[in-house]
Amino acid sequence: MIEFQNVDKEYDNNVRALVNINLKIHKGEFVFLVGSSGAGKSTLIKLLLKEEEPTAGRIILNNMDITKVKNRRIPYIRRNIGVVFQDFRLLPNKTVYENVAFAMEIIGAHPKEIRRKVPMVLSMVDLSRKASSFPDQLSGGERQRVSIARAIVNSPPVLIADEPTGNLDPDTAWEIMKVLSDINGRGTTVLMATHAKDIVNSMKKRVVEIHEGRLIRDEQKGGYGNEITSF
């Protein structure tokens, strides 16, 4: 599903953000991406979203080599990836329903389809009752659930979560993890970058650790990591 082959990423100022990354994530996996700030997690995600190009190596997504694609193909690649951010990134002037529907409108979905799917994903994240609310009327956890709903409404094969619990309190964070687990259970591959030690340690999923641009650990049922490598 996702494969990094000998991927390097060096920025213009000679900063080597990623060095020789080899990583293979299969369909349906749930993978935690851990590492200290600046270790390279965001860069990895940016490469998948085609916000940046790798300096070397290949990236395979959904059986397609996305390393060297023309710029105009990028939107179509991104339609295969649902993204959830730490800061939710909802449109403040749209209701919950409209925020989720937005993702479908943009790819030209039929209004009938939209009317069918949006309520469906809203109930999946347990927000049906708040469909007409605006983001500023929601709690942090509810906002994140809207983001997740938006991310999955087009049924992407992959969901990337970049510190999704960063702005949430522990209890709410767990609610979100439940939702993500649920989605993963239905077959969506999930890659989650996080600093949330407790969550990683309790969920016992595959853990990939990046340190100074290198992949130093890849453990099934892994923990967050010992104090020496993550500071």
């Binding site: 939107p75 990134r89 993702a103 087009n154």
Partner: protein
């Protein structure tokens, strides 16, 4: 802000319109005058004797390239003018003395004889004025060329300014919607989809700007034409181009250019401020 954009487009188009009308008018004058190319009209001094008339006629008939010679007395000249003035002819009734002169119209065999005949004519005693349209045309063409050149330079500069102004106006909209655009990109909207509304905004500016300038030119030129055209003919024997002929083409040109500037402005804005 929208007003700035619309005004800048209107300004460009107005100047373009004025230049176009000027050039069209001059071309029209040249065309009309060209039909008189093969004629030279000479005006005689007052108080000549019959012998003088004969002398002059003979000298002219002897010249190479003269096809025919027609005499127009001052009385005939006045009649012709009255016919030309139509409604305003009553103004000529009040004249005590005929201000016109006797004239001859010399028909040439070919334009190539013109220059020499004209210079010879100037040497004949009794001929007060030689009217030949070549110099008029030459001067007009020179003026036309200056106008065309100057016009292009000014219009080019103004177009760039307009595009700049519009791109800054749209920048405000673009920046205000930056968050939305960002999300659109993550969700997988194509650049075309994102650009759409902004380009429409730019085109709208273009249409409104074009409409404003079309109206100004239409009413302005119609008024100008009505007040000046007849007098122009009296003075210079030339006509202005009638508004009805111009307006449709001007409308089409203005709309096309206005929309073009508007669309370009928004595209430039999107590229500059958002990398879309």
């Amino acid at each position: 802000m929208g007003i700035a954009s619309v005004s800048s487009i209107s300004a460009v188009l107005l100047i373009l319109g004025v230049v176009l009308i000027l050039i069209l008018t001059i071309n029209n004058i040249v065309l009309e005058t060209k039909t008189k190319f093969d004629e030279i009209q000479i005006y005689l001094e007052d108080g000549l004797s019959n012998a003088d008339y004969d002398r002059i006629e003979n000298r002219i008939r002897d010249m190479e390239g003269v096809l025919s010679l027609v005499f127009i007395s001052k009385e005939q000249g006045l009649e012709i003018m009255k016919e030309g003035w139509e409604e305003e002819a009553y103004l000529l009734e009040g004249l005590e003395e005929n201000p016109l002169q006797d004239s001859y119209i010399i028909q040439l065999l070919d334009i190539k004889y013109a220059e020499e005949i004209v210079s010879n004519l100037r040497n004949i005693e009794g001929i007060e004025d030689v009217k030949y349209y070549q110099d008029v045309i030459d001067k007009l063409m020179l003026v036309a060329n200056y106008i065309r050149f100057g016009g292009i330079v000014i219009i080019g500069a103004l177009m760039l300014v307009s595009i700049f102004i519009i791109s800054n106006t749209i920048k405000v909209t673009v920046t205000a919607r930056r968050r939305e655009i960002n999300i659109m990109k993550y969700v997988g909207a194509t650049n075309g989809y994102i650009r759409g509304p902004f380009i429409i905004e730019g085109i709208l500016f273009g249409l409104i700007g074009a409409a404003v300038s079309i109206l100004i030119i239409k009413f302005g030129y119609e008024y100008f034409f009505k007040s000046v055209n007849d007098k122009l003919y009296l003075l210079f024997t030339v006509y202005l181009v009638p508004p009805t002929l111009l307006i449709k083409d001007i409308a089409i040109i203005f709309t096309a250019i206005g929309v073009g500037i508007g669309a370009l402005g928004s595209l430039v804005s999107l590229k500059r401020f958002l990398n879309v």
